[in-house]
């Protein structure tokens, strides 16, 4: 590993910009992501910064069973995120549809049909600490040595 790569890894490990997109959840996972911002979990001590701008994000948190309104749009949001990027499915809904995947509903899970998902955090809803550890594990597995892996 070159020196440049090591510098890149070091910088990236302390600067993760997170964007979240709600594709039809019950809000339960949303507020658990918001709770991550609370001083108790102190997300910024890990260098994670949550805002809602896909164009400067590294990690996309996907929440909710996939509703039909998002059909073309989620792909567009995903394309706007610059490389290196990773998507994390938060909660049961994006993984399997959860309670909403029944006959007669308007959802189309799983989300991995539409965009590539790097990590999944099951739970209805998962705890903020679990969301936090998922983001941190993405940092070590996807972003570390990204240029090397590309070759």
């Amino acid at each position: 590993m070159t020196l440049l790569q090591r510098i890149k890894d070091l910088v990236r490990s302390r600067s993760i910009h997170v964007s979240y997109v709600d594709v039809g959840s019950c809000n339960g996972c949303d507020i658990e992501i918001l709770a991550c911002l609370a001083p108790r979990y102190d997300i910024e001590q890990y260098g994670i910064y949550v805002h809602n701008n896909p164009r400067e994000a590294d990690v996309l948190l996907v929440v909710g069973a996939f509703t039909l309104g998002w059909e073309e749009k989620l792909k567009m949001v995903w394309d706007k995120i610059p490389e290196p990027k990773a998507a994390i499915a938060i909660g049961n809904c994006p993984i399997s549809g959860g309670v909403f995947d029944r006959r007669g509903s308007y959802v189309d899970p799983p989300v991995s049909k539409h965009i590539p998902i790097a990590a999944e955090v099951p739970g209805c809803p998962p705890r903020p600490t679990e969301i936090l550890s998922a983001i941190l594990s993405i940092r070590d597995t996807v972003f570390a040595g990204w240029e090397v892996k590309q070759r």
């Binding site: 709600d22 809000n27 339960g28 507020i31 609370a38 509703t67 949001v77 909403f100 006959r103 308007y106």
Partner: protein, 361 residues
């Protein structure tokens, strides 16, 4: 609506200020907003369609997942409607425990709403303070019910688990702590000069238009309408509940109503803890057939379930009317019309505490 306009500014579906996807198309002339159209459909899951034909044991969990922020009240209204249809009595201790769980849920929801508002007007300090005490409320909710968000605490005929004596003491101790902090933060909001500049006189919702759009909850109470479904609830009546009303009609009044209601909720929990007498927490009964329209007061306002059940306790027909439907409608068609700049649209929208997951179900 097909209309030709000068300039239209779409906000959303992904926007830093909105927690959930909604698309506001604001028609503007200069900086002034003259009209707005809302585009939903990003959260339509069809929960009511899934609920049809399922037994109450399943619908109970689905009802909770209509909205994650106010899950306890959805659970409570659905279960109380089933109880009313079947004539099931609730033991007094369980009724008080329901009030405690519901008020804790209301507290965390109001704190989240005020957090969102402070975050939107870029007063991040106060926002983080509020989010910090919200975690303490979430702890109490978890200690009481066993889960942070979707707790399924209320079941027909009572509640799922009892409160232990030592938990009671912890709860009242932490309520004291929360009230002390809350008082400080409410004062910060009330007297903050920059907050007042950013909130007073913005997003006016007059009483007349509030009545026309059938606005409910804190949004209505900030416009001087004393409507609160808790005044009709038997347990709350025993606790001598009175709604909080303000006449400001603006963003500031809406947020202050929520601060006042937080103190009122703390009072209600204390009263219920005092009134808690030993006894059973689960009654019994059989779910029967019937039709009922039943309302309860969610953190955002009046929540109505129209339910028809059959003799096996299955839900034959259901319609949920959530408070956010009315509030967002009033917000987009009355509140943000005529605000001075497009920057005030987001703060006016967030001050009504919109919940898109509720609205679309």
């Amino acid at each position: 609506m097909k209309r030709t306009v000068d300039v239209n500014i779409p906000l959303g579906p992904i926007h830093p200020c909105f927690k959930e996807p909604a698309r506001l198309k604001c028609e503007t002339r200069g900086e002034r907003v003259i009209g707005a159209e809302v585009e939903l459909g990003y959260m339509k899951k069809g929960i009511e369609r899934i609920m049809k034909g399922r037994p109450w044991q399943e619908v109970m969990f689905l009802a909770e997942r209509v909205c994650g922020i106010c899950s306890v009240i959805h659970n409570m209204v659905f279960i109380e409607a089933i109880e009313k249809i079947s004539g099931i009595e609730v033991p007094p201790r369980a009724a008080l425990l329901r009030v405690i769980a519901n008020e804790l849920d209301r507290m965390q929801s109001h704190m989240l709403a005020n957090f969102s508002y402070c975050y939107t007007i870029e007063h991040e300090t106060l926002a983080m303070y509020l989010l910090d005490i919200r975690e303490q409320v979430m702890d109490e909710l978890e200690r009481l019910t066993g889960a942070r968000v979707t707790c399924a605490y209320i079941v027909p005929g009572g509640v799922r688990c009892d409160i232990r004596n030592e938990d009671r003491d912890t709860l009242s101790a932490s309520l004291d702590r929360i009230e002390h902090d809350l008082h400080r933060y409410a004062k910060m909001f009330e007297t903050g000069p920059m907050i007042a500049l950013r909130s007073k006189g913005i997003g006016i919702l007059t009483e007349e238009s509030a009545l026309q759009a059938h606005v409910v909850g804190p949004t209505a109470r900030a416009s001087g309408i004393a409507v609160d479904m808790r005044t009709n609830h038997p347990t709350y009546r025993k606790l001598n509940f009175a709604p909080v009303v303000r006449h400001g009609c603006d963003n500031y009044a809406r947020v202050m109503v929520r601060f006042d209601e937080l103190s009122a909720s703390i009072g209600l929990i204390r009263q219920s803890l005092r009134a808690l007498s030993p006894g059973v927490i689960r009654g019994g009964g059989i779910c029967k057939a019937g039709t009922l329209r039943y309302s309860g007061e969610a953190p955002r306002g009046e929540l109505t379930y129209s339910i028809t059940t059959d003799e096996y306790g299955r839900v034959a027909e259901i319609q949920i009317q959530t408070p956010s439907i009315m509030n967002i409608e009033a917000c987009c068609h009355y509140m943000i019309i005529g605000v001075d700049s497009i920057a005030d649209v987001t703060s006016a929208f967030v001050s009504a505490d919109p919940c898109i997951a509720c609205t679309e179900r």
